[in-house]
């Protein structure tokens, strides 16, 4: 027995064989290949086949290089939380995690309770799970609930309190860059393309501020906005106002790109699908609609819940959507088939997917994080957290490239550790948390050069540059059915009542027959045309056939000979 264990230990510690590494690389390559290669065997054009084969080979090579880079060159590894023995991951408390992790990580757990009575900077109170009980008079001055937003690199956070408290925080050295009090309702904040600008949805209009807190623009056209979203690749600010109007404004040129009436009532559930830039709205009728700025009708309208939709979130791979309804259900949807994958019981006011695919749900003062354990999109409970003193969770948002969940609640904001949430390795050219100001300037220019036109927003962004599939000819049966339907429609036509004499039943029958024949006519013409073409073809083919000698003198002679 002991020997066996020893053997097991030995095999475990053995260095990975070449075969294992190859298998691992193969698995990783899949991600970089971006789908299966085309079937070249069916091609008849040899030249094209050769060219495509060379291309495919090149794609394979580059995918392999990327997989190797991922295996050997990545500087950091992702976080994890594993239970041992009878432990359950969802019973593990934040305090215990804080004891286990390093000091710099444990500093990422804090509760900020506002307002504080001391005149010191509120962020100095970063004690773990400590909070300050507000006195009664201050409680009535509460600034919350708070809403949060992170820049794409996760370096900066914007906070907005309902009562007009706005601020920008540097999350690496935990310093407050700027805070201001607009003395007006603030419903939402969102960063624009970098930390220099942010937009806040205030009582009557949305405003754009710069990092110093100077008001740059008042976007009066948008009206009283409830939710803001920013489309980073397109430089579009999408807003949803009290009257259910969805507007898109280009923040570089200032032009209004789209202005649509949803017609489905007031809602404040809005989320951008980062995969394709489609904006989704959740409505009180239980429907979810998806919009693009170039069409006034929604791309998709799906009934998700038997009650108002309360929250929406999208997985970064674009295939998975989570919705929460007031009907006590949280549903996971496959966006390729528009089907439910999983239905979980429970309320959620706010939902968010992390970069690695964890799903955070907030309800009341309870936060639940779900995880897809087996990779089969079967989400189950991973971690739970309950806010102290029953602070009500208003907004949950994962911090990019960190194992941190930001919580905006009724009296301030908090941050807890969720191991395995964030992408461990950032790309300096995509989002760099340690960006210098020069790098930021250069990136801004580059991003502006690569700004996408609004037309590139579509449900399947990989469609760009591909060929539209050829429309197949309708079959005979389909065509007959079409004719029949048209005839039926003509027969069912109601005739006007005419004056006496003109309303004879004979005339009415005649009119109906005329209408039917008029409808049939184009189909018949088409048929005749096709038959003619066929006969011409037949004639051409039959010309080649040699006639018997006795009949040749009757054949049509060729003009040229």
């Amino acid at each position: 027995m002991g020997k066996n264990e020893e053997n097991d230990a030995l095999t475990k510690n053995k260095p990975a064989t070449e075969k294992d590494i190859l298998a691992e690389l193969e698995l990783k390559m899949k991600k970089y290949l971006r789908g299966e290669s085309a079937n070249l065997e069916v091609l008849k054009d040899k030249k094209l086949k050769g060219q495509l084969a060379v291309k495919e080979k090149l794609y394979g090579k580059s995918a392999q290089a990327a997989a190797k880079a991922e295996k050997w060159l990545m500087p950091s590894e992702g976080g994890y939380l594993e239970a041992e023995g009878l432990e359950k991951t969802w019973r593990i408390k934040q305090e215990t995690i804080a004891h286990e992790v390093d000091i710099s990580s444990s500093r990422k757990q804090y509760d900020i309770i506002l307002p504080v009575w001391s005149d010191v900077n509120p962020l100095i109170h970063q004690t773990v799970q400590q909070h300050i009980t507000p006195t009664l008079s201050i409680k009535s001055m509460q600034l919350g609930p708070y809403t949060l937003d992170f820049t794409s690199s996760g370096r900066y956070m914007a906070v907005g309190g309902r009562k007009g408290h706005l601020g920008i925080v540097d999350m690496i050295n935990l310093s407050l860059i700027r805070e201001l009090q607009v003395r007006e309702t603030v419903r939402d904040v969102v960063f624009l393309h970098n930390e220099l600008f942010f937009a806040a949805a205030q009582k009557k209009y949305p405003y754009i501020y710069n990092r110093e807190g100077t008001e740059l623009h008042c976007l009066k056209e948008h009206g009283p906005v409830l939710r803001l979203q920013f489309l980073k690749n397109h430089f579009l600010l999408a807003t949803l106002n009290k009257f259910g109007q969805l507007r898109y404004q280009d923040v570089t040129m200032g032009s209004m790109v789209g202005n649509f009436r949803t017609g489905l009532g007031r809602t404040d559930v809005m989320q951008v699908n980062p995969f394709n830039g489609v904006v989704s709205l959740g409505h009180s009728g239980g429907t979810v609609t998806m919009w693009k700025p170039t069409s006034s009708a929604p791309l998709v309208k799906m009934l998700c819940h038997k009650g108002p939709v309360s929250a929406l979130a999208f997985h970064s791979n674009g295939h998975l959507m989570a919705t929460a309804g007031k009907d006590k259900k949280i549903k996971l949807w496959d966006l390729r088939k528009f089907e439910v994958l999983q239905t979980l019981p429970g309320h959620a006011n706010t939902l968010d997917f992390s970069q690695k695919g964890l799903l955070a749900c907030g309800n009341g003062s309870l936060i639940q994080v779900l995880r897809d354990v087996s990779g089969t999109q079967n989400y189950s409970r991973y971690m739970t957290h309950s806010m102290v003193k029953g602070y009500q969770v208003g907004k949950l948002i994962f911090r990019p490239y960190e194992d941190v969940l930001g919580i905006g609640h009724s009296t301030g904001w908090s941050s807890i550790l969720i191991p395995g949430a964030g992408e461990p390795n950032f790309d300096s050219w995509v989002a760099n948390p340690f960006e210098t100001s020069k790098q930021r300037r250069e990136k801004e220019i580059r991003a502006l050069l690569d700004k996408l036109p609004p037309e590139t927003i579509m449900l399947d962004p990989s469609k760009i540059g591909t060929v539209k599939p050829k429309r197949e000819k309708p079959t005979k049966q389909e065509r007959e059915a079409e004719v029949e339907a048209a005839v039926e429609a003509a027969k069912g036509m109601k005739l006007k009542k005419k004056t006496k004499g003109r309303n004879k039943p004979g005339k009415r029958v005649q009119k109906k027959q005329e209408a039917v024949s008029r409808v049939k006519r184009p189909y018949l013409e088409q048929k005749i045309q096709e038959e003619e073409n066929m006969s011409r073809k037949k004639q051409k083919t039959s010309e080649g056939v040699e006639l018997p000698k006795s009949l040749q003198r009757f054949a049509r002679k060729k003009a040229s000979s």
């Binding site: 880079a69 950091s76 939380l81 995690i97 461990p424 996408l452 540059g465 010309e543 002679k557």
Partner: protein, 513 residues
């Protein structure tokens, strides 16, 4: 319980000193870059637009001749040398780098109609309407000062007088024979004042001649009876003759596929032929709206340049039905001769307005390192210059700290130093590796998205001078009408009684052996 969270220390991810390079981390995960195809498409679009913005093909005009330029030839042994002959009998050797005449070859009485240089670049052969062939020894340009005052004139090494006016001349690629054309085709040797061989097929004037670059004994001529004739010097009589509907003004062999040649035709098209199969053109290159006067292949054999009577120069792919580039200026008149430079990166055109013009072969290409050093610095090493400059700098610092020289004096020294350096290093814009990489990336995305309508439209669009635009529209209307008529005739005749020839065959009358 096992737990690990992402923890990054700032020191690890930022540079230590301000002199260090910023650290760069890569993660190629596609999920970090949403909508990558759209982004690539936008980049392709921008790249194509940038190409348009930077399309400045005209480099300069070389003026000096006082009459229309009738012929040109490259100096095969030197990249920057080109000879040009004009209608008044003047022949000049140009230095393309400094855009100046190096020397002149006076002597011809009438127009110079043909110029060619031997493959070693030592002998220049010229002929003209004065029925004279002149052989010149080409001076070594590196010895000749590029100064204007010392512009030299050269005496011909030998003069051969013959019976009739000449229309063209071409030198054999390997050997010392050259062929002249006029009333007949004559083969000459450098040393003999009589032709060593003569060919004749028909009575009309032969107007152009080109030796095959691969097979030195093979040559092609075109005559004013609309024929193209192939000759083999090893045989007593011509090999093949092909008659087209219109005259061929010039012929050029593809240097990389010497079995193929392209003929510049009077009808505005160029026809590429395979020598073995003269009953059908391999490709018809359309776009000129008037007679094509001259044609020359790039040394790569992938593209060729044509000059036309419609006052434009066009560049074609060797297998492209339409031109990929059109060059024109307001001042350029009828183009009589064009040449690709020896490295394939420039195009030189000579026209009726007495100027030679230099164009880039790729209109929007950024030209590479050009480091200009005057002659007397050739022996000076680069490291020596750096030593000298360091020495001057150290003197300056010493002056500043020890003798407490006032600052204006230091300024003067700095000025002298920089003028010194600047005089000897005129460094033209240089393509850095990063820039090169970006160009490559742009090329790749352009290639990938070239089929998309917007990209294709921008890439294809060229501004045309109004007369050419109108003429091409008119020609299009004419061809459409012709096609319509033919279609109708076909539809109303007995099936199979009327057959249409493809354009590749249509312009050929017959092939004679």
């Amino acid at each position: 319980m096992k737990v690990k969270v992402i923890s990054r220390s700032v020191d690890e991810f930022t540079r230590e000193r301000s002199q260090d390079l910023q650290r760069v981390f890569r993660n190629y995960d596609p999920s970090l870059r949403p909508q990558e195809k759209a982004v690539e498409y936008v980049r392709a679009l921008n790249a194509v637009k940038l190409d348009k913005i930077f399309a400045r093909p005209f480099i300069g005009a070389l003026d000096g001749h006082i009459d229309a330029i009738s012929c040109m030839t490259k100096n095969p042994s030197q990249l920057k040398g080109i000879f040009s002959g004009s209608m008044d009998g003047d022949i000049r050797l140009w230095d393309l780098a400094s855009r100046q005449t190096v020397c002149q070859f006076p002597g011809h009485q009438g127009a110079v109609r043909g110029l060619t240089a031997s493959t070693d670049g030592k002998v220049l052969v010229s002929c003209g309407t004065d029925a004279c062939i002149r052989l010149w020894n080409v001076p070594n340009t590196s010895l000749v000062e590029s100064d204007d005052s010392t512009k030299s004139t050269i005496e011909p090494a030998s003069v051969f007088v013959w019976k009739n006016a000449f229309w063209g001349v071409d030198h054999q690629w390997d050997g010392d024979l050259f062929a002249t054309v006029g009333a007949q085709v004559d083969i000459w040797n450098h040393n003999r004042s009589q032709p060593i061989n003569s060919f004749e097929w028909g009575t009309d004037t032969v107007i152009s001649v080109r030796f095959n670059p691969g097979e030195p004994n093979l040559l092609a001529t075109s005559a004013s009876d609309r024929s193209i004739i192939l000759y083999d010097l090893r045989m007593a009589s011509p090999v093949r003759k092909m008659i087209m509907m219109t005259k061929t003004n010039s012929i050029c062999w593809n240097p990389m596929e010497p079995i193929n040649f392209t003929a510049a035709n009077e009808d505005g098209n160029c026809y590429s032929y395979d020598t073995r199969k003269l009953d059908e053109a391999k490709c018809v290159h359309k776009d000129h709206v008037s007679a094509v006067m001259d044609i020359d292949y790039s040394p790569t054999g992938r593209e060729f340049v044509t000059g036309s009577y419609d006052r434009t120069v066009r560049l074609f792919q060797y297998n492209g039905g339409h031109s990929k580039e059109i060059y024109h200026t307001k001042r350029m008149q009828r183009v009589f001769c064009v040449k690709f430079s020896g490295d394939g990166s420039y195009v030189i055109s000579g026209s009726d307005d007495t100027n030679l013009r230099i164009w880039k072969a790729k209109a929007s290409e950024q030209l590479g390192v050009v480091r200009y050093l005057p002659c007397f610095l050739h022996y000076l090493d680069l490291s020596e210059i750096i030593n000298v400059s360091e020495h001057i700098l150290s003197i300056m610092w010493r002056c500043l700290f020890h003798t407490k020289m006032n600052l204006s004096f230091v300024g003067l020294y700095t000025y002298i130093f920089f003028t010194f350096i600047y005089d000897y290093f005129v460094i033209m814009p240089q393509i850095l590796p990063r820039e090169r990489k970006k160009h490559d990336y742009h090329e790749a995305v352009k290639k990938r998205y070239k089929h998309l309508p917007e990209v294709n439209r921008i890439a294809r669009h060229r501004h045309l001078p109004r007369p050419i635009f109108k003429a091409s529209a008119l020609m299009r209307v004419m061809t459409d009408a012709k096609k319509r008529k033919e279609d109708k005739r076909k539809a109303h005749s007995a099936p199979g009684s009327i057959t249409t020839q493809p354009l590749r065959r249509r312009r050929i009358i017959k092939e004679v052996e």
